[in-house]
């Protein structure tokens, strides 16, 4: 493994993001880190994208090297928003050593930084001091902490995701973040394994409702079939199907707030998909809505007719936990 390990980010790209009704130019980076200390989520592929058996010093070196790539990009694009994903918890010292976090704060001072954090790792002190670090002289700069709650249902989170987090832990963490001056972004996972199309839909609707008091931003992402995951094993044996794009659109169309959504692998067998004919149109609409927040656009997509819509309606009504998935 060591031979192949690269000290460049797993991925890095620039773009635009809608944050609280504002559109910011952004850079997003996925860092290879010490790895999520939980590392059990059924759909998570990043379990494999990590360093193994490094000393703390080696890890720091490797990550700093990656951050230099980010630094170059920031210098070039001067993004308002920097999103850093470490496949786990930014504030876990095992995963991201403090010195690395400091270097990042330097880079992002005066900007909005989004990092991710397991809900049970949120530490009021750490967050509060990090928020301070990010503020520049004119008080600009802020921290968004994204928590992968995935669902407000403890049962689904335990059985279908194995996240090791309870909804009440999430609430505590979210309140801590806000108290510490950060913003809370909540990730929801649309249709983990072991839930039917309708159960998944209903879970998203109720999750959105239940997290609204605690979160500033919501990102709902359809589950996709990542390599070497348990979800992939289930998918291979016909026991898992990613959600229909119809379902995804319906949640977005009915949601009481703006929700960002990135259907990874959308339109393909391994991602959220319909029949192949109508997929691209829905994906385009979602992408547009992500930025402009125009729910009417999504609603109009739902009015669209396609040969597979009847199938989806049937699945929503007749797919039960004892006979699912019914389609591929």
């Amino acid at each position: 493994m060591k031979k192949e390990q690269k000290n460049t980010p797993i991925a890095l790209w620039t773009g635009s993001d809608r944050v609280l009704d504002e559109i910011l130019n952004s850079v997003t980076v996925i860092l290879r880190s010490g790895g999520c200390s939980w590392n059990r989520c059924l759909m998570c592929q990043y379990r494999h994208e990590r360093y193994h058996d490094l000393t703390v010093q080696e890890l720091i070196g490797a990550m700093i090297e990656q951050i230099e790539v980010l630094a170059t990009n920031i210098a070039e694009h001067d993004p308002k928003l920097v999103k850093i994903y470490t496949s786990g918890t930014f504030f876990d010292d095992q995963e991201v050593p403090p010195v690395v976090r400091e270097r990042i704060a330097d880079l992002c001072k005066g900007r909005t930084l989004t990092v991710e954090c397991r809900g049970d790792y949120v530490d009021y002190e750490k967050v509060a001091s990090y928020v301070d670090l990010l503020k520049n002289e004119s008080g600009q700069g802020g921290l968004i902490i994204a928590i992968g709650l995935e669902t407000s249902s403890d049962l689904i989170r335990e059985k279908c995701i194995d996240k090791g987090l309870s909804f009440s832990q999430y609430i505590t963490a979210a309140e801590d973040i806000r108290r510490a001056g950060g913003l809370v972004k909540t990730y929801l996972l649309y249709k983990p394994a072991y839930v039917s199309e309708r159960e998944a839909y209903e879970d998203m609707v109720s999750s959105i409702k239940e997290i609204l008091p605690y979160t500033d931003l919501i990102s709902m992402n359809p589950c996709s079939v990542q390599r070497h995951t348990l979800v992939e094993r289930l998918w291979r044996q016909g026991s898992y199907r990613p959600p229909y794009l119809w379902s995804v659109a319906k949640v977005l169309a009915d949601a009481p707030v703006h929700i960002t959504c990135d259907p990874l692998g959308g339109g393909q067998k391994r991602g959220a998909h319909n029949c192949g004919t109508c997929d691209q149109m829905i994906l385009d609409a979602i992408r547009e809505y992500n930025l402009n927040g125009d729910q009417e656009l999504i609603r109009s997509v739902l009015e669209m007719s396609c040969g597979c819509k009847k199938e989806w309606e049937f699945i929503m009504e007749h797919e039960h936990p004892y006979a699912m998935p019914l389609t591929g």
């Binding site: 249902s153 049962l155 689904i156 059985k159 279908c160 072991y194 839930v195 039917s196 159960e199 094993r233 289930l234 044996q237 016909g238 026991s239 040969g307 009847k310 199938e311 309606e313 049937f314 699945i315 007749h318 039960h320 936990p321 004892y322 006979a323 699912m324 019914l326 389609t327």
Partner: protein, 552 residues
């Protein structure tokens, strides 16, 4: 109505079996459904819609199942190989998400076997979601009884027209492939449901007629996984246990799979382990005949005349391998029908040679005469090589040619007549017992014979099934086996499963049985296997013929 009371009214009973497939009745309150049945199952079992977020897949590992699988005690009871559920006779059970297993035939059969061995046989098995007209036969064959319309309704919304041989674009509806009310009305969903209902009705008819397996042989050809499931099942203990020991219907061996049917394997196995040949050290290998039993055919009439009882006659045949003359009535030797092309495929060659070689190694003959030509002779020679013996050949021409018949007769000149052996051979195959009672006489015109000792009838022979029926006197000569033990009641009519205390594990459906209780004995015929009669709590276990009270 109190809940508990409602449950008691959900119960099932099976009245006909063919292999692991069965037909019967499901009763729910005042309604009765003929099994196998397809319909709106969730409306019959409210628990199905009450259970939320309880998906499980057959492949789930034990820890996961242990952690999340919770019982609610309601029917249909959910089955999982890693979850020990309490299931009672008459209960309805469900195999959640097994439609995903169809594509994995080996696992399908493995899981099925584990569960079928664990759960009482007289339970109603619900296969949710995946049934279609094209796979109804293989699913019923696997032992499922209850189905829903989910699969066919889904096909309808997908614009697919279902038939037992697959599905078609809905445009074929205009082409006259079906004339059901759904088709008349242009209602695809109704057609699909009708197609499924019709298929299940046909399956019921076939099971009741004892011709379901032959039907299945054609039906599974739609998709390779169905064939695989059938093949795995054929090789399973489950199927051996549920295959009747005899049928009176033809055994149609119309595919290469027939040679692996439990009946064929059972015949060969009994031949090699149970069968006791007559006292002679000369054997003649003969070709088979289209007419069954062989001895009623023209060709065998000639062979028998030429041999004149001076040797033990062994008939070489596919798919059965080897059939000694004296047990030619034993099922399926007198029942099978095969497509004849003159070509023996290598699987047939292998299986036949294997059985013959093993037989010849077990029973040492001084002389083995091969009155065979062509491929049959090659197969016999191959087997003889394996057994380390040398064949004599008496066919320089076709076996029925007068020249060959003369050669055969001359080859046997000087050999002593073999004593009539019919009974000992048949008893050994059927009961696994060596009957050595002197003074038994076979009366009547073969194959319609009875066996007497003095004026007492000992056995009758049922020509359509090849089964010996012992009288009480007959049973008194067979010391062990094929006993079914009951409680201290005196049977009035047939013996029901709950009355059975113990049964010889060798008992299969169709076997002749001696019923023994404290206060009575009875003769009869098993309607289910020993395993099933012990583990079931409803249904007829033994069809009683005669009852004898004991000690007043």
């Amino acid at each position: 109505m109190p809940r508990a009371w409602r449950w008691i009214l959900k119960t099932c009973e099976f009245t006909a079996r063919d292999g692991t497939g069965r037909a019967g009745r499901l009763r729910i309150d005042d309604s009765e459904y003929l099994l196998p049945w397809a319909g709106d199952v969730p409306s019959l079992f409210p628990a199905l819609t009450e259970r939320k977020l309880d998906a499980f897949f057959p492949s789930d590992d034990p820890e996961f199942v242990k952690k999340f699988f919770t019982s609610d005690g309601k029917q249909p009871i959910r089955l999982h190989i890693h979850h020990p559920e309490e299931v009672t006779s008459g209960d309805a059970v469900i195999t959640p998400n097994w439609h995903t297993l169809i594509q994995q035939p080996r696992d399908f059969v493995r899981h099925l076997q584990i569960l079928k061995e664990r759960i009482p046989p007289d339970t109603c098995w619900y296969f949710p979601g995946g049934v279609l007209p094209e796979n109804a036969a293989i699913l019923v064959h696997a032992g499922f009884d209850l189905f829903d319309f989910t699969g066919v309704d889904l096909k309808a919304v997908q614009g697919r027209f279902c038939l037992p041989d697959g599905d078609y674009p809905e445009t074929v509806m205009a082409e006259g492939l079906c004339q059901c009310p759904g088709c008349k009305a242009g209602d695809l969903r109704e057609h699909n449901r009708n197609a499924l209902k019709q298929e299940l009705a046909l399956i019921r008819t076939r099971i009741k007629a004892g011709t379901f397996r032959e039907f299945l042989e054609g039906r599974v050809r739609t998709r390779p996984p169905y064939v695989s499931i059938m093949r795995h099942l054929d090789r399973s203990a489950l199927m051996e246990n549920h295959t009747p020991v005899t049928r009176s219907t033809p055994f149609i061996a119309a595919t290469g799979d027939s040679i692996h049917r439990p009946e064929v394997k059972r015949f060969a196995e009994r031949l090699l382990t149970r069968y006791i040949p007559p006292l002679t050290d000369v054997a003649v290998l003969l070709p088979c005949s289209a007419r069954k039993p062989y001895s009623l055919s023209q060709s065998h009439h000639k062979f028998t005349q030429a041999i004149s009882r001076r040797a033990h006659e062994l008939i070489l045949t596919s798919p059965l391998g080897l059939v000694p003359r004296d047990v030619e009535l034993v099922y399926p030797a007198a029942h099978y029908d095969v497509p004849v092309t003159g070509y023996w495929d290598h699987e047939e060659r292998f299986q036949i040679a294997d059985t013959l070689a093993k037989y010849l190694m077990k029973h040492q003959y001084r002389r083995v005469i091969a009155h065979l030509d062509g491929d049959a002779l090659l197969i016999a020679t191959d087997a003889a090589d394996q057994a380390g013996i040398t064949l004599e050949s008496t066919c320089s021409t076709h076996p029925t040619d007068p020249v060959a018949l003369r050669q055969l007769s001359e080859a046997l000149s000087g050999e002593k007549k073999v004593k009539n052996h019919l009974l000992r051979g048949l008893v050994s195959m059927q009961f696994g017992y060596d009957l050595r009672v002197p003074g038994l006489e076979v009366k009547g015109s073969y194959p319609e014979v009875i066996v007497k000792k003095g004026r007492q009838q000992i056995f009758s022979l049922e020509p359509s099934t090849g089964m010996l029926r012992p009288t009480f006197d007959g049973w008194s000569m067979i010391d062990t086996g094929y006993r079914v033990y009951i409680d201290d009641f005196v049977p009035q009519g047939d013996i029901l499963a709950p009355g059975v205390v113990e049964a010889d594990p060798a008992v299969r459906e169709g076997d002749e049985i001696l019923v023994i209780g404290e206060n009575a004995m009875a003769t009869g015929r098993a309607v289910m296997s020993a395993d099933e009669m012990i583990r079931s709590h409803r249904g007829v276990a033994v069809r009683v013929r005669k009852v004898k009270k004991l000690n007043g």
